[in-house]
Structure formats: structure tokens, C-alpha cells
Symmetry: C2
Subunit: 125 residues, 2 copies
């Protein structure tokens, strides 16, 4: 099995179990680059390095209650793979506090030397 | 609406209607580059130019009976968008003739100057 597919399968398995931090610790390069489809007032679209990416994940987890997560994939192509995510969540804080909504997106990952070096999130803003 | 999202929505609409050739005629650059996750003995992974891409589509249509098509998206990010495809098909010819199977994949499209210049298909081989 290619590195890409191996890494992709592990990432999907861990995301299905909600083990996002374990996925980052074991599968991500320390120089990981994470790029959202859009930035916000408190969140740049592009972040770099394990500390920033884990901070973003922690922020997300602390501010959303997850009712259901659907994770499809990985869909590999060379050194990249795509994963499809659907999250049914309720926001815990901020302008959306108390609102339940669906996050519906695809993510494109790039693998070099067995580690994820880029994650790019695709969605409608 | 961005060029990317406009083109993506039109492409998804036409694919849902099975109007693949109309999608290519109206939305694709004449220099379109199409890259499969894997090539085969009679099909290179990389093809370039409208004639080759339309030939591939014609081959696919003539060799598969489509029972159901699910098309999700577009999921945009900058000048690219992802579309998720699931096809329930029966092969009409070749070693798979008479076999019914699911094609389950994601596609990554790149848009320049309002036209699709690259399509890349992601799937498990």
C-alpha cells in the first residue's frame, strides 16, 4: 500500500473516533501547513506549525458540541488524498452560540516522507 | 459569487443531468488537463486537450450503463473546487462486462480565467 493510502486510512480511522490530536501527533509533520477556504477576524486562513494547528483544533473542540460525524475516504491520488467530512454540531460560544448546524466540507491532504505536510479545507463560505 | 463557485455549480448541475459533454463544451479550457489516480493498459493517467478528454468521456459513456449518479458539491477553496461522485453502473464491455459496481471518487478542479484547466480524480485503485 502506498504511503498516501496508509496515512489516509489512519487519519480517517482516528477522525471517526474523534481522536484528532492523536492523528496530528502521529501523522502530521511538525511543519504542517493548514489552509481554510476562508479566514475570519480571529482566525487567519493559513496557519503553520504543529502548535498553531493544535491550537485551532482545541479551539474548535472547546466551542462545538458534536452530535454526529461522518467521515468518507480516503480518496488517494499520488501523494495527495481527499477526505469528505460532515459534522452535525451545536456552537457553544460566539455569535452562533446555541445554534445547531451542519459543517459540510472536503479536505485535501498532501503527504511527503510518510507525514501530512498540508491540509486544505474546501467548503462554501 | 467567485468564478470558482459559479463554474463549480454549473458543472455539478450539468453532471447531475448527465450532460457531461455540455459541461466540457461550456466550462472547460480547450487545453484542459485530465489526470486519473491511475492509468491502465489502454488509458494513460494523464490526458491533455479537449479532443482527448471528450474521447475519454465518450468511451466511458459507451461502456457503462448508469443506474444512479450522486453528485455532491461544489466545495470551493480559492481557484479550486472539489466534487464528490458516486456512480452505480454496469459495465457493457471488457473484462467487467455485465458486472454491476459502484464508482466512488472525489474530483479536484482548477479554474483559471473562468474555465476549468485541470481535473484530477481521486479514488482507491
Amino acid at each position: 500500500m502506498s504511503d498516501t493510502l496508509t496515512v489516509g486510512k489512519k487519519l480517517v480511522d482516528l477522525c471517526r473516533q474523534g481522536k484528532t490530536h492523536e492523528a496530528m501527533d502521529t501523522l502530521y509533520s511538525p511543519h504542517i501547513v493548514s489552509i481554510e477556504a476562508a479566514g475570519g477576524p480571529n482566525m487567519p486562513a493559513r496557519m503553520e506549525g504543529m502548535a498553531a494547528i493544535k491550537g485551532k483544533a482545541t479551539w474548535w473542540e472547546e466551542n462545538h458540541e458534536v452530535h454526529k460525524a461522518e467521515v468518507e475516504g480516503p480518496f488517494p491520488h499520488g501523494d495527495r488524498f481527499i477526505v469528505r467530512f460532515k459534522y452535525d454540531v451545536t456552537a457553544k460560544a460566539g455569535p452562533m452560540a446555541g445554534k445547531r448546524f451542519t459543517m459540510d466540507e472536503a479536505a485535501l491532504y498532501t503527504v511527503k516522507d510518510g507525514k501530512v505536510t498540508h491540509e486544505e479545507f474546501f467548503y462554501t463560505t
